[in-house]
């Protein structure tokens, strides 16, 4: 069953950025290509199929979609006066980054229609900034059945490289986004 006309109408209203407009929002389209719970192999890792180049419009559209008005993330003059000295991205910009980069590659079960998110454990290292190109390496590290539901956990390391760090020998930045996702057969569950 494809995305309903009612849903499509509302989605089209809010797609503003270049990435939002080009992203395939009908998760049913590539459903057959997504990783299934049965296919998840513990320890298997792979790079996400594409990178995320951070633009200011990505940050602004994310802030608008999450009711976040903090000036640190959108007002350069304000940000310069803070200890950060410049604009930084809100911490949870990692969410659209994960969905953009993953596609139908490793960890793609997060796109499975009906998948439910029971929780997250995230470690943050360095804030993301405009101009960063984020890459993701995903690794399946657990799968289990609990209370009749199949659950998978994937660890995603998000990295970027900054020229200033390469010149000074500084560290790469990375996050670990450990996502548990529960896939349920909706027609049987209810």
């Amino acid at each position: 069953m494809p995305t309903s006309k009612e849903a499509r109408t509302l989605i089209e209203k809010f797609r503003k950025s270049e990435k939002q407009k080009s992203f395939q929002y009908d998760f049913f389209v590539d459903e057959s290509k997504y990783e299934k719970w049965e296919d998840v192999k513990i320890g298997q890792e792979g790079m996400a199929e594409r990178n995320f180049k951070v633009k200011m419009e990505d940050i602004l559209t994310y802030l608008d979609g999450t009711f976040d008005n903090h000036p640190l993330f959108r007002d350069e003059k304000f940000a310069k006066k803070t200890p950060w000295g410049e604009l930084i991205a809100p911490p949870f910009l990692i969410v659209p980054i994960a969905f953009w980069c993953t596609g139908t590659s490793s960890g793609s079960w997060i796109r499975t229609p009906g998948a439910i998110n029971p929780g997250q454990k995230i470690e943050f290292y360095e804030p993301i900034r405009v101009g960063d190109t984020i890459t993701i390496k995903a690794k399946a590290y657990d799968k289990y059945i609990k209370r009749g539901k199949n659950t998978s956990r994937t660890c995603r390391n998000l990295e970027t490289r900054r020229d200033s760090w390469l010149q000074s020998g500084g560290p790469l930045l990375y996050f670990q986004l450990q996502r548990a996702m529960r896939s349920i057969n909706l027609l049987k569950a209810f």
């Binding site: 069953m1 995305t3 309903s4 009612e6 849903a7 509302l10 989605i11 209203k13 809010f14 797609r15 503003k16 990435k19 939002q20 992203f23 929002y25 009908d26 998760f27 049913f28 559209t61 994310y62 608008d64 979609g65 999450t66 009711f67 976040d68 903090h70 000036p71 640190l72 304000f78 803070t82 200890p83 950060w84 809100p90 911490p91 949870f92 969410v95 659209p96 969905f99 953009w100 997060i110 796109r111 499975t112 229609p113 009906g114 998948a115 439910i116 998110n117 029971p118 929780g119 997250q120 454990k121 995230i122 470690e123 943050f124 804030p127 909706l186 027609l187 209810f190």
Partner: protein, 147 residues
């Protein structure tokens, strides 16, 4: 408890309650969040589909768990980021669905202080999000580095 002028590790006290935040969730907000997060799972954006599969036995869409988690993160970014505070980690369990027309309130409290080298000291915050009926929808904790 009185809020310090600037947030700093030496100034904050145990049991300090962060200023709470409240968000009213509608289908429009959920779909806007889908566009923001690129998570277009039909359980969030498609009321027609949710009714057809009788999602959660009520036949309604649910908000993104990551939206609730983002609101919990805003509890912290609103409180200390302008002063140089920074999230170190978040560990959240999403325990109850959030439906359209729910109102979510996020609250948090400092429960531990970890003194470290300058710039590395952090606090533990226990937080939760609950709906208008007092039902907790998410619980968890965060570690926050404070200047």
């Amino acid at each position: 408890m009185k809020m310090p002028e600037k947030v700093g590790f030496d100034k904050v006290e145990l049991d300090y309650e962060l200023p709470s935040i409240t968000r009213h969730v509608t289908q429009e907000l959920i779909t806007k969040n889908a566009c923001a997060s690129l998570d277009f799972n039909p359980i969030h954006v498609d009321p027609v589909w949710a009714k057809k599969v009788n999602l959660f036995g009520v036949g309604k869409t649910i908000a993104h768990g990551m939206m609730t988690m983002t609101f919990l993160g805003q509890l912290i970014t609103d409180w200390c980021y302008a002063d140089g505070g920074k999230l170190k980690s978040m560990d959240v369990k999403l325990i109850w669905p959030v439906f359209p027309e729910d109102t979510i309130t996020c609250k948090g409290k400092i429960v531990a202080k970890h003194p470290r080298d300058p710039g590395q000291s952090f606090v533990d915050i226990e937080f939760s999000a609950e709906n208008q009926d007092g039902q907790k929808v998410a619980v968890g904790k965060a570690e926050v580095i404070l200047p």
